[in-house]
Symmetry: C2
Subunit: 334 residues, 2 copies
């Protein structure tokens, strides 16, 4: 990492026209990284274009520099591209890929464990809680090279947003002592974690809360309470004028049931395949369940898509979940 960091910083030093991109369906980490770099590179007098194919979701529009983001570009004159948090290069989106690929030098900054690392310089560390931790190091390196303080309040706001988003406000297993130490530094620079957490987590659409209500109203336990499941139906989506984006986070509520080792949310999205999200704790492996139906993920979080009807998807997945838990009694909890 140290060597890659040095080389990436030198590549930035050598470049003047730089394009930055995050992944599709952007979250606070990919946007925070792109914007933090945009602030730092502009401060260095670089010509910077920041791209996000799907734009900036409403809950992140307050981020400093959010209005710099463009969704596409015809330019092909960049001498460097930096892709943040993407997992694999195609995840910048079909409209952005040719812009990125037109640049002669490419830097990949990411914390995803993937076969998909790419580029000439790869700042990839799967132990980082968020790509924001790696961007912080890169900006620090640039500060030293240029003898200029690039860690501003704006950079701190952006990177704190990345960390808070990707750690669920320091609740996830990816948090390390380094994450906390960086959070302390970012707060000293002026980032206000409570404000960011409120903006990111406690600012939900009416439709998303109603949808959470419908989902929890459907909550059921099977397998002696070890599997909790819920669904949102086409009817729910239509009555509430809700979109798939409004379902974010619901599965974590399902998994929160005291007795449950596995939580499952089924989404019957109008006009699309049924999406299945699975979460586990205490030793269950939901990746095995999702994989049985062509999906994937990891032990604690996985997903798959299946053809309707909803009821058949539910019975197939729930039967597989009971098998995974070696639970012969797969009916409703007593």
């Amino acid at each position: 990492m140290t060597k890659a960091l040095e080389k990436a910083a030198r590549a930035i030093e050598a470049a003047q026209h730089i394009v930055l991109a995050g992944h599709i369906n952007p979250d606070g980490d990919t946007l925070g990284c792109v914007l933090a770099l945009a602030h730092a590179l502009r401060e260095l007098g670089k010509d910077v274009l920041a791209l996000s194919q799907d734009g900036v979701p409403e809950i992140y529009r307050w981020m400093p520099g959010a209005d710099w983001i463009e969704q596409a570009s015809d330019r092909r004159d960049f001498d460097l591209a930096i892709v943040c948090d993407a997992g694999a290069i195609h995840r910048v989106g079909y409209a952005i890929t040719p812009v990125i690929e037109s640049a002669p030098v490419l830097i990949d900054v990411d914390h995803h464990v993937a076969d998909g690392t790419f580029g000439d310089f790869r700042l990839v560390d799967s132990h980082a809680s968020a790509t924001a931790e790696l961007v912080w190091k890169l900006i620090g390196k640039l500060s030293r090279i240029y003898g200029k303080t690039l860690a501003t309040r704006a950079v701190a706001d952006c990177l704190m947003t990345g960390i808070i988003t990707d750690t669920g406000s320091f609740r996830f297993m990816n948090v390390t002592p380094s994450t906390f130490l960086l959070a302390a530094r970012l707060q000293r620079l002026g980032a206000v974690p409570s404000r960011i957490a409120e903006l990111v987590f406690e600012d939900r659409s009416y439709a998303s809360l109603k949808l959470l209500g419908r989902a929890l109203d459907s909550l059921q336990l099977i397998a002696n309470g070890r599997v909790a499941w819920a669904h949102v139906t086409t009817q729910d989506f239509e009555e509430l004028d809700a979109t798939d984006e409004d379902t974010e986070g619901i599965v974590n509520h399902v998994r929160a049931v005291h007795s449950a080792q596995v939580g499952i949310l089924f989404r019957e999205i109008p006009g699309r395949r049924v999406r299945v999200s699975l979460r586990a704790r205490d030793g269950a492996d939901v990746n095995r369940i999702a994989s049985a139906f062509g999906g994937g993920g990891h032990r604690l979080a996985a997903g798959c898509s299946m053809d309707p009807p909803l009821a058949l998807v539910e019975s197939a997945i729930l039967a597989e979940a009971c098998r995974e838990l070696q639970q012969p009694e797969c009916g409703p909890a007593a």
Copy 2:
């Protein structure tokens, strides 16, 4: 603080029989502090009794030393009492107060802003996110006095629980850079923040999640979306076999609606008065609304109780909320 810390540590050094107590309706901070001190003082060979009048709630029973806690004691032979996180001495509970008062020397460790500080030595700092931050300092001072490492994994687990509980996992306004720095140290000692957050926050009863579902299903917006409100009815409580304890946290979901400055939850608890919980943000003052009906609290969080029927309580409170927001249009949002 530094002087008080030194004096408190010297008082502990001079004592052999020490009683520790937290507050009634104990949370993770009061229990974490009592247990962390119990571990440290036992390590120093002291005779220690740890008291919590209301025992240890189920979600905290995993804490190391939780089975040491007693709910009462006939002993009056202590030469030192330490009360953690209580706000005021009577909050240790009527059964514990005489035990504490029988000790000739009393230490108050607390982060509550209160008129209620007490005792011979007062380690009180309202800027600490949790009393755990102050207990950490006290244990550090004792380590130096005795030349002995008292900061063990058990102590770290207890104090991390205090911090995570009292900061809502680093989401509340009380978090400071010092909080993050301490979290980094506690994690290095072996405390696992994700595990603790899961145990504290993501372990909910089936009834409480179903009740949240019912409440959000009832969610409505008025006053151009500036007021969001919801209710849980006697029928909900009875059908779900739920108790008032199962409603905890629901009002925060109600307040989370993007447009809402005020969130209100009405609880029609079987056989009791209707309880009204109010939450605000962005300059609204819900204390004024609650006070108009004999309740109270502060600007951002307040509550009151009123006689049924539910519908009349709702219309009275909602009208007052519209007045508070100077919102003449008090009907449902368009």
